[in-house]
Each structure stands twice: as structure tokens, then as C-alpha cells.
């Protein structure tokens, strides 16, 4: 599969000295539904804003559908749609006009059939001729999605498109994105709803503190990096000091529970016994013991915790 997007050594240091990206390498396969995950402040939005041309990169290279993003901006922009994280709207116009203007600015004569379809699919038809100031927060966010799609881009980037959107609407929005993806559009999204990302996306990358931790297919991540966890539950909350003694098992504490990562050795046996013995030695007998398979959320939390500086 060829790449829709290849990022190499991208760095960004803001004028105030904040380092947002410290050398990110990332490849997004063409036609994929790609999740870019990371905790708040990991650098996701900086990366996206550089791609969208609203922030200048400090160094690095980006290839977009085989073209150099920085030297062939016009070509790339015509094929890229970005939904920014922060709500923005033109207070002078109504959604239908905003979409016509957006299409025009991309050099595309407004396709009214497509605009009406977008309004319909994003449930804005009723509000199409109201001034954008009268729209609710959720409607404004959907309008942003429509604006990003109006010129029929090949690659769509959504930076937390579902923040503040209710469950029902979120499902329908994802359904629409799935359809676009099935028709060949590459979709890159960031979200804090990890369950949704696991269900929707076929590829995933996790970044933390401006660095890429992992990037692979969703299945691959869950099968190779994802493992099972030993969960021991105690009567009282567990003190953080015990973490250092159990470092070998990438421990994570959640109040009175401790999660220890079970890794498979070459013969396929996992280290259940070793982990269990170590935990009992450090923390004493547990109230209950169980083994869980990690889902995306567990993998995400473990990876981002392991790399805390």
C-alpha cells in the first residue's frame, strides 16, 4: 500500500520555547482509517496544524500523496480537508453560504448537490440558512466537518471531531466517515474515545511528549504489544512506592488495584508465576486476582506511562 502521508523528522518548538514535537516519523497508508492517539499535550494538534498550514514547522519533511507538502502546498491543500480542534466559524454567514465560500476558496465551483448532501448527513439542513451565530456548539462542530469535506478531499484529518457531540450523533458521524473511507478516502483522526478508535480504525499511532511511541495496524498492536494483565485487588489503596519494586512488569495502579503486564516468552509461556510471586512479596496477599486481556485503552495507558520522563 502506498502512503497518503509520510512524516519524517518533524520538529516544532514554539516561540515561547515549548517543544511540541521532537522528531516525529509517521506513515499513514493510503485508504486507511488511522487513529493518532496521545494524551493531552502530546503534540497531536501541533502535528495536524503543521499539516493544515496554520502552524509553521521547525524542521522535518512531509510527503503528501507523493508530493512534497511544503514546496507543493497548493496541490496538497486541494486534496486535504482538515477539521480543526477549536471551533471556528464565520459570524457573517449561514452554513449553506459558508460551505459555498469554502468550496470557492478551494478553487471548486460549489457543487450544490454535494453541499446539500453534506448538510443532510451532518444534520444541519434545518439550520442551513440561519446565521452561524445561532448554531449550538455541536452544530458548529458538524459545520466544521462539512467545511473540511466540501471540496471532496482525498485525505481527511479530524482533530477531535466528536468532542461535545452526543452519543447518537457521534455514531452517525462515524458511520458517515466509514462510508467515505470505504469509497477510498484516507481518514486520520485524533480522539479521546479509545473504544471508538479501536472499533473504527485499522491503523493506530501513539505519540507522547512529541515522540512517536508506536505505529502499526490496530490488530498488530493489540496482538503484539497488547498482552494480558494480571490484576490484583487489595483492601486499601496501593502506595506509589511499590511501583519501583515491580518495574519489571510495567505496573500501573488504579486506586486499590494494581495491573501487571504479562509477557510471553519464546516458548509461548507467560510470566504469570513470576509476576504473581513478586506482587505478593511486595504487597502481601491480595483480596482477588484476575487476568484481563488488554484493550486499546490499556495498551495506550501502559505505553504512555512507560515513557513518562
Amino acid at each position: 500500500m502506498s502512503a497518503a502521508l509520510t512524516v519524517q523528522g518533524l520538529t516544532k518548538t514554539y516561540k515561547n520555547g515549548k517543544k511540541a514535537l521532537s522528531g516525529v516519523d509517521l506513515s499513514v497508508p493510503e485508504g486507511s482509517f488511522f487513529a493518532l492517539l496521545g494524551p493531552n499535550g502530546a503534540g497531536k494538534s501541533s502535528l495536524i496544524n503543521i499539516l493544515a498550514d496554520t502552524v509553521k514547522p521547525s524542521s522535518g519533511q512531509v510527503s503528501f500523496l507523493g508530493h512534497d507538502l511544503f514546496s507543493e502546498r497548493r496541490w496538497c491543500k486541494q486534496r486535504l480537508g482538515v477539521v480543526p480542534q477549536e471551533i471556528a466559524f464565520d459570524p457573517f454567514f449561514a452554513p449553506r453560504d459558508i460551505l459555498k465560500i469554502m468550496s470557492g476558496m478551494f478553487g471548486v465551483k460549489p457543487d450544490m448537490v454535494w453541499i446539500d448532501e453534506l448538510l443532510e448527513r451532518l444534520e444541519l439542513s434545518e439550520h442551513a440558512n440561519k446565521n452561524a451565530r445561532q448554531l449550538s456548539g455541536g452544530m458548529r462542530r458538524r459545520l466544521l466537518v462539512a467545511q473540511a469535506l466540501v471540496h471532496k478531499p482525498k485525505v481527511v484529518i479530524l482533530d477531535e471531531p466528536t468532542a461535545g457531540v452526543d452519543v447518537e450523533l457521534r455514531k452517525r458521524l462515524w458511520g458517515f466517515m466509514r462510508e467515505l473511507n470505504a469509497n477510498g478516502t484516507t481518514i486520520l483522526l485524533t480522539t479521546h474515545y479509545l473504544e471508538e478508535a479501536e472499533e473504527l480504525c485499522d491503523h493506530v499511532a501513539i505519540i507522547n511528549q512529541g515522540k512517536l511511541l508506536t505505529s502499526q495496524s490496530m490488530k498488530g498492536l493489540l496482538n503484539t504489544v497488547g498482552s494480558s494483565a494480571l490484576v490484583l485487588e487489595y483492601a486499601e489503596d496501593i502506595a506509589d512506592e511499590s511501583l519501583s519494586k515491580l518495574e519489571a512488569f510495567s505496573p500501573r495502579i488504579d486506586a486499590n488495584k494494581i495491573f501487571l503486564c504479562l509477557k510471553k516468552d519464546t516458548s509461548g509461556q507467560n510470566n504469570f508465576n513470576a509476576a504473581y510471586q513478586a506482587a505478593i512479596q511486595v504487597l502481601g496477599e491480595a483480596q482477588s486476582v484476575s487476568v484481563q486481556n488488554e484493550d486499546l485503552e490499556d495498551v495506550f495507558l501502559r505505553l504512555t506511562n512507560e515513557h513518562k520522563s
Binding site: 477549536e86 471556528a88 459570524p91 465560500i101 478551494f106 467545511q147
Partner: protein, 253 residues
Amino acid sequence: MNWYGCWTLYSRESRRFLNVKMQTIVAPALTAVMYLIVFRYAMGERQVPDLDVPYFNFLIPGLVMMAMMQNAFANTSSSIMVGKLMNMQIFLMMAPLTAFEVTLAFLGAAVTRAFIVAIVLLLVLVPFTDMHIEHLWMILFYGVCGSIIMGGMGMIGGMWSKTFDDMALLNNFIIMPLTFLSGVFYSVKQLPESWQAVNHFNPFFYLIDGFRHGFLNVGDTDPSQAIAIVSMATLATIFACWKLWQTGWRLKD
């Protein structure tokens, strides 16, 4: 060139002021009429010294040009300011429009607004006088250049300002003094000589004087010198807007 994109942005910037005609066209016309009534009765039938024209006729072109300049400035500066505050300028940055296309569209809309205001003002004011057009080319030249210069300054001011306070500062301490001291209300020949010299460093002075020359066939400046200065200032303004937008000055971190 993304001509269609540039045209769309131009029409967006024009529709923005056409949607609020009361504020952008009717209000400036009313202000000008009030100035005129006040000066009509304050000055009576007096003539402008040394120029030999009725003060009333002298005043009208200056007022029209002043309104054109203020409206051109307001159109670009308010658009960029609102864009910044509403986080809306990201749509301009994400669109495949070059800095030159953006500059062209913004300045084009500023000139359009200035000319609509000028035509409305002239239609309202001219019936009260016996004034007529002497040199149409001068009126057009100075009108277009003046609105480009002020539209460009509005763009730069909008990019520079972080808040509406910054914008007010710019308006009250730079734009207003330069406009009022540019000879809208007086002929520089009425000033002491030292002040006359100072006036020659005010770019607005050449614009107003040249524009008025187109109606009255008299002026305070040497026409060829004025044309050279105004042309240079216009090109420099366009160039500055283009380059500043290209680097994302105070817009992009």
C-alpha cells in the same frame, strides 16, 4: 493562480460590508452630510485663501476622500481582527490561496467599499454645489491608490493587533491624526511654513490634495511629484501586505 478562489474571497469580503449597509454605507454618508452642514453655516461664502475657490467646494472632495480611506481601512482591519478573535483565519490559511491572492482579494474588496461610499457621498453632496469633474483620471488614480494604501494598512494593522484595544490605539493615534492633518479641512497654504514642511511628510496629504485637484483643478502639491510618491507608496503597501501574509506575521506561530 487560483482565480476562482481569489474571486470567492473578494466576494466574501465585499458581501461582509454589503450585508451591513447601515453601518458601512449609510452611516458614513450621514456623517459627511453633518460635517457639511456645520461648515456651510460656520464658513458662509468664504473663499479658501490663495486658491480662489469657495470653501464649501474645497471641503467636499476632501470629505469624500477621507471617507474612502477610513472605509477601506475598516474593511480589511475588521475582517482580519474578527478572523483572529473567532479563530476564523485558519480557513484562509488552510485554503489553497497564495499570499498574493489573499492580498489581491482583500485590497480589491477595500477599493470596492471605498468607491461605493464615495459614489453615495458624491450623489448626496454634489447637488448642494456647482462643482464638477475636471480630471476624471486623477479622481480615479488617487481614489484607487488611497483605498489600496489604507486597505493595506488595515491588513497590516489587523495582523499586528492582538486585541480590539490595539486596533483602537492604531486608529486613534496614527490614522486619525494623519487624516485630520492631511488638509481635508484647510489648504496647507494657510499654515505657517514650518507646518507646511511637516505636511509634506504625510502621505495622506498627497492623496487628498490630488483627489481634490481632480474636481477643482487647483492644488497645493506638484502633480508629478505627488503621482510619483503615491505610486511608490501604493506599490510598497501591496508588497508589504503580500510578504507579511506570506510569512504569517503575527498569525502563525
